[in-house]
């Protein structure tokens, strides 16, 4: 039995609400369904859609944040991804980039490979981020809280983590129909 069973919001619903609050910020989106859903909900040249290198979304975003200190950088990540690249929580916490917002959609499963459980049901990732040195950390379930906290984080100096508890529902989405090389080129041009 999952501790937070009954969570109503899907990742796509949460993501759509967040994308409405974003304009031209670079957004790094982790591999698997999150990238495909973001592509379907609102495709923007400032989106970097990942198809491989699981666990590396936050490190890519950190590289952007360090190289572009005047741009706010957002990561759309998942619980499986954060667990795989856990060391990056420490690197972000130590370097403390003010322009870094880490959104973690936490459904407690590896959704893309068939909903095998992760261990985020017992390991609170936002507390690990806080312990590592993230400045602002929030855990939300409801849509109103999600919008309130994200709006707040956009105004604050980071690094920040917004952990969003979501259900396992997945949108009916295809693959990202842009060639990876073109994703790179388009993203580079858009964040110049």
């Amino acid at each position: 039995m999952r501790p937070e069973q009954g969570t109503m919001q899907s990742r796509a619903m949460a993501m759509a609400a967040l994308l409405e609050l974003l304009t031209d910020q670079p957004v790094i989106i982790c591999n698997g369904f999150p990238s495909r859903e973001a592509y379907k909900i609102a495709d923007r040249p400032t989106h970097f859609y990942m198809i491989g290198s699981m666990g590396n979304a936050s490190a890519i975003a950190l590289g952007v944040a360090l190289a572009k200190p005047n741009k706010q950088v957002v990561v759309f990540d998942g619980d499986g991804n954060v667990l795989m690249g856990m060391g990056t929580l420490a690197t972000v916490g130590a370097l403390k980039p003010k322009n870094f917002i880490h959104v973690v959609f936490d459904n407690e499963v590896y959704g893309t490979t068939g909903n095998q459980p992760t261990i985020s049901n017992v390991v609170p990732l936002e507390k690990m981020a806080k312990a590592a040195g993230y400045v602002n950390v929030e855990r939300v379930r409801e849509r109103e809280d999600l919008i309130y906290e994200f709006t707040d984080m956009l105004k604050k100096d980071g690094p920040s983590m917004l952990l969003v508890k979501i259900n396992e529902m997945v949108e009916d989405v295809g693959r990202v129909m842009i060639d990876p090389q073109d994703i790179t080129k388009r993203f580079m041009k858009a964040i110049q």
């Binding site: 198809i51 290198s53 590396n56 490190a59 590289g63 990876p180 090389q181």
Partner: protein, 165 residues
């Protein structure tokens, strides 16, 4: 022997302006010099360093990642499913532990197979020597610009001055 500050300066001269990585004793002098110049962002794993470098590249930087050759194993998936697929180049400065079978046991297997390993995953590589250093760095920069994939400069012990003699 090449001095660490001359080597770092040479990298800066070919345009490298973002340095990250995970230390090795052979790279100790270079990392100390980079830290003194406030150019070095330490990573906790080599795949993280490679991904950070990719983010920096997309933001207009020319990145280099320093690592021990054991880190090639750790970062392999990032190199092939991020850099190769997305055409994101980076310069890999890789210390060649286990070179000619003379090292601690944990380095011997990678030390022996590293060139073939890099050939297999199609990462161009050269081994730095004092005699050919200028040419080696020129080749690094050209390969980075032309091929837009990771390119490796391998470094055996004693070619660039380390922290310990």
């Amino acid at each position: 022997m090449i001095e660490s500050d001359a080597f770092v300066q040479a990298l800066q001269d070919i345009g490298v302006d973002f340095f990250t990585g995970v230390p090795d004793s052979i790279l100790g002098g270079i990392i100390a010099e980079l830290m003194e110049r406030r150019l070095y962002t330490p990573a906790v794993r080599e795949d993280e360093a490679v991904a950070m470098a990719a983010g920096a590249y997309m933001s207009g930087k020319v990145p280099a990642v320093l690592m021990q050759n054991s880190g090639l194993g750790t970062s392999l998936n990032t190199l092939i499913s991020l850099n190769m697929i997305y055409c994101q180049p980076c310069i890999l400065i890789v210390s060649w532990r286990g070179y000619q079978g003379k090292d601690a046991p944990e380095h011997l297997v990678m030390g022996e197979v590293m060139p073939q390993f890099l050939d297999t995953v199609k990462i161009p590589h050269r081994t730095l020597s004092e005699k050919t250093a200028i040419d080696d760095l020129k080749w690094l920069a050209e390969t980075f610009m032309k091929q837009r994939i990771p390119v490796a400069l391998l470094m055996t012990k004693g070619v660039v001055r380390g922290l310990h003699p």
